[in-house]
Symmetry: C2
Subunit: 462 residues, 2 copies
C-alpha cells in the first residue's frame, strides 16, 4: 500500500471542510428536541459513504435512531473489515463554558496542537474519528488500492447506550459478517506515542429519585420535623463510598478481576506524569480508591460517580423550601467479569434498602454495557501494530482505557470477531466537555494509518 501522504496533502482542505459541515449539525441523541438534526446527520453520513466509494449504502431503521450501513465487497475470498462508529454526540452543556459555540466549528492552534485543532462538539467523539475511515476508504478506492472487503456500521445512539444496536446486530449477523472490527473512538497516550486500546470498562447508568412530602414545604414551618429529600439523598449517596473510597454496595467487587503484581508493574511502565496530569485539569491533588495508582483507578478498578444531581430551588436568590423530591444520575464504570445487569440490580436493591423512614426511593436503570479486554496476539492487533509502525515509526503501546464502548463486548458475542481500537484522540481533547476539539494532525494521521491496517490485515490473512 502506497503512503496516503501525497493524496492527503492534496485534499486536506476538503477533508477538513467536509468534517466541519458534519460537525455543524447538533446530533444530540440524549435530547429529543434535536431529533431532526440526528436524522439529518445520518443522511449526511450516508451521502459521504456513497461518495467515498461504497457500492451499497442504506439507512437502516431501528426502534430508535437509524444505523447507516455501507459496504464495498470486492472479492468474497478476501477478508472483510467492519468499521464501526457513531454520528451522535454528547449534549454540549454547560454552554457558557464554550469559548466558541459547540456547533460552529472553529480551528485554533494550541500548545498540544500546533497545526491547529477543530473545536466543536463531536469533533473527536466520534464524528472526526469516524470520518477518518470514510476518507481512508476514499483514498483506497480513488487510487485503486482497496485490498479487501469493507463494511460500515455507523450508529446514532452511542451516547445514550446504543439501545437499538443489539437489536440490529442480532437481526443482521449475515449482513455484518466480518473478519475483524475496526473502531476509532478512543485515544492515544500522546501525539508521539501511538497506542492501541486493549481494555474498556463496562457501564451501569441509573437515575434515582428520593421523595418525601407530597408537595414542597416551607422550611421554617416543617424544617427539622420531616425528612428533607435532598438531605436524605446526600446521605444515601455519601454512604456509597467508605473512607478509603471503596464502594460499599454488597457484592459489588465479587466478580472484579484482580491483576497480578506483574501485570500492574507492566501498567506502571506506561509514560505518566502526575504533575502534568493534575495541571492539565487544574486540580491540586488526585483522589480515589486507596491502594491503587491513578492509572489503575481509572482503568482496572470499578468506580461510582454522580453525573448529575438536582432538587429544590436552584434559581437566582434564596427560597426557603423543603423540596418534595430530589434526583441524581449515577454511573458505575465496571471492569472485566462484572456483569452490568447484575451490578445494576445490586445497586437498585442496596440503594432502596438504605432509604430511611419518611421517604420513598425509586431507581430507574438507564443503560449499560459489559467491559472488554482484547488479546494482543490476535491477527487484527498485529496488523494494527504494523500499521502504526509504518506511519509513526514507533510500536504502539497496549493501553487499558477507563471509558466504555459497551457494544464491543456485544460484537464479540454476536459476530464472533475481535475488535481493534485504533484511537487518534488525546485525553486533553476534552471529549464530553466544553471546548471539545480534535487535532488536524491527528485527523490526517488517522487517514494515513487506516489504509495501512487494511493492507497488513489482508497480507497476514493469506
Amino acid at each position: 500500500m502506497k503512503s496516503a501522504k501525497p493524496y492527503i496533502e492534496k485534499n486536506k482542505d476538503r477533508f477538513i471542510d467536509e468534517l466541519i459541515e458534519l460537525l455543524k449539525i447538533p446530533s444530540i441523541s440524549a435530547d429529543s428536541a434535536y431529533k431532526k438534526d440526528v436524522l439529518k446527520t445520518a443522511d449526511a453520513v450516508k451521502d459521504q459513504l456513497k461518495k467515498a466509494g461504497c457500492d451499497k449504502v442504506e439507512i437502516c431503521e431501528t426502534p430508535g435512531y437509524p444505523i447507516v450501513y455501507g459496504e464495498k465487497l470486492i472479492d468474497k475470498n478476501l477478508p472483510t473489515i467492519l468499521v464501526y462508529g457513531h454520528y451522535d454526540v454528547q449534549p454540549p452543556d454547560p454552554l457558557n463554558l464554550w469559548v466558541n459555540p459547540p456547533f460552529e466549528p472553529t480551528i485554533k492552534k494550541t500548545k498540544t496542537h500546533p497545526e491547529g485543532a477543530i473545536f466543536a462538539r463531536g469533533s473527536c467523539d466520534d464524528k472526526g474519528q469516524m470520518y477518518m475511515h470514510v476518507k481512508a476508504l476514499e483514498y483506497m478506492t480513488e487510487t485503486d488500492q482497496l485490498p479487501c472487503n469493507v463494511k460500515f456500521m455507523i450508529e446514532g445512539e452511542e451516547e445514550v447506550g446504543s439501545s437499538s444496536l443489539e437489536w440490529f446486530v442480532s437481526k443482521n449477523r449475515e449482513k455484518l459478517a466480518n473478519d475483524v472490527i475496526l473502531i476509532s473512538d478512543t485515544g492515544m497516550i500522546a501525539p508521539d506515542t501511538p497506542s492501541i486500546t486493549t481494555g474498556l470498562r463496562g457501564l451501569s447508568y441509573v437515575e434515582v429519585e428520593v421523595t418525601g412530602p407530597n408537595r414542597d414545604l416551607h422550611s421554617g414551618l416543617y424544617g427539622g420535623a420531616v425528612a428533607n429529600p435532598i438531605n436524605v439523598l446526600t446521605k444515601m449517596i455519601a454512604s456509597l463510598h467508605d473512607e478509603d473510597n471503596h464502594i460499599t454496595i454488597p457484592g459489588f467487587y465479587d466478580d472484579v478481576e484482580n491483576l497480578s503484581k506483574e501485570e500492574r508493574a507492566k501498567m506502571a511502565e506506561a509514560p505518566f506524569n502526575l504533575e502534568n496530569y493534575e495541571k492539565s485539569i487544574g486540580i491540586n491533588s488526585v483522589y480515589g480508591e486507596k491502594g491503587y495508582s491513578t492509572n489503575e483507578r481509572n482503568s482496572i478498578r470499578p468506580t461510582l460517580d454522580v453525573n448529575g444531581i438536582w432538587g429544590g430551588y436552584i434559581g437566582e436568590g434564596a427560597k426557603t423550601v423543603i423540596a418534595s423530591s430530589a434526583f441524581a444520575k449515577i454511573s458505575m464504570r465496571l471492569v472485566p467479569n462484572q456483569d452490568w445487569k447484575k451490578i445494576t440490580e445490586l445497586f437498585k436493591n442496596h440503594f432502596e434498602s438504605i432509604a430511611p423512614k419518611g421517604v420513598t426511593v425509586k431507581v430507574t436503570p438507564h443503560h449499560g454495557g459489559q467491559a472488554y479486554v482484547t488479546p494482543i496476539d490476535s491477527l487484527g492487533y498485529k496488523a494494527a501494530e504494523k500499521a502504526y509502525e509504518e506511519t509513526f515509526g514507533k510500536t504502539p503501546i497496549p493501553q487499558r482505557s477507563g471509558g466504555s464502548i459497551p457494544i464491543v463486548a456485544l460484537f464479540e458475542k454476536e459476530l464472533k470477531s475481535k475488535t481493534i481500537l485504533m484511537g487518534f484522540g488525546l485525553d486533553s481533547d476534552a471529549i464530553h466537555s466544553p471546548n471539545e476539539h480534535f487535532g488536524i494532525w491527528n485527523y490526517l494521521k488517522g487517514i494515513e494509518t487506516i489504509p495501512q491496517f487494511y493492507h497488513f490485515f489482508t497480507e497476514m490473512s493469506k
Copy 2:
C-alpha cells in the same frame, strides 16, 4: 367598636376582587426578571392605602425594592399602631405542580375551606394577610371608628431577607415611632383554634460551591481518579448531621436556649395529631432530631436544611460526565440567643475545613435574621387576646412558630416596641409551595378581628 360583620357582608365581593387584582401581579423579589412587576405591586398597594383612608402615602426608595409607607394620624395623645407586611412573594416553581397558574387567582372550595379559598402565589404569604389590614382600616375610617393613630410599612424584600429594611428603619425612627407593631404573616393552629405567635426562629441562609477540575470531565477516562465535586458535596452535606440528626458544626448549639420541663410540658398541651400531620403532607413517618417531639423540632430547636442542590447533567437522558462544580443552597433555622451572623461564620469555617484535597470550597452568605420571643403579658398581647375572644369567642393559644420574620427582632431593637403576630393562615395553606391558597373565611375573619385589636389596645392604653 361595632362589629365589622355587616360592613364585611356588604362589601366582601369587592374585598375579594381587590385582593385578586393584587395577586395577579407576579412580584417575585428573588428573580430580577420580575423587577417591573414588583414595582407595579408597590404602586398598587400605595393606591389602596390611599383609598382606605391614609392621609399620607408614599413610595420610599431604598437600596433595593421600595417600601410603601402610609399613615393616618388623628391625635398625638392617642396610641399609634404600626402595621408591617410585605408585597413580594416567593418564586412559584415548580410550576408543573400548580393546578391553576400561580398568578391567575382561582377560587375553589376545599375540605378545610368550605367557604372557598383563593389559590395564587402570595394569597396567604403575605398579600392576603397584609390586605386584611388595609380593608380593616377602610372599615374604621368609613364608619368613623378609627380609635387611634395608624402607620403602614409594607416592604418588597421579605422573601429575600429584607435587606433594605434595616437601612430604612434605622434612618426613620421618628417617622416609624409607635406603641405596638402589628403583623399578620403567620398562621393559626386551626380554623376553630385562634392562636398568637409568640416565638419565631432566626435564619442563616448560605450558598455553597464545590469545585474540582477546571472543566467537566469524561467520567470514564477520569472516573475514580479525581475528586467528583458532586460526590464530595454529598459527603460534606451528609456529614453536617450525625446519626441522631444533631447538627455537627462545632459550637452550633452553644447559645441555644434549653426550655424547662414545665415549658416543654406546656407546649405538649397544644392540640396536635401526628397521624393527621403525616397524612396532610403525605409521609409515612416524621423524621428529626433525637429526643424531641415534632412540635419541638420545628419550633424550639435549630435545624439545617438543603433548600436546593444542583450540578452536572440534569437534562433528559444520560451524560457520562464529571462536573467541574456542584452547588447547594442551605438554610439554618435558629432559636432565641443564637446569633445568625455568628452561626453563618461557624458554618463557613466548618464547611471549608471539611473539604477534602482535590477540591476548593466557596461559601457565600445570602441573608439571615435573629430569632424572637415575645412576652404574653404585654399590653399588645392582652389586646390581641381580647380581640380574638370578641370575634372567635375563644381565647387564642400562644404558639411558637418554626418560621422566621427576621425583622421582628430588628423592630424591637430599633423602635423599642413589641410586635404582635396575629396570623390567620393555616399550615395547610401551602405557603412557599405550589397551590398556595388563603381561605376566604380566614381573610374576612381577619378583617373582622383587626379593628377589635385597635379598640382594645386604645382602651387599655388609657
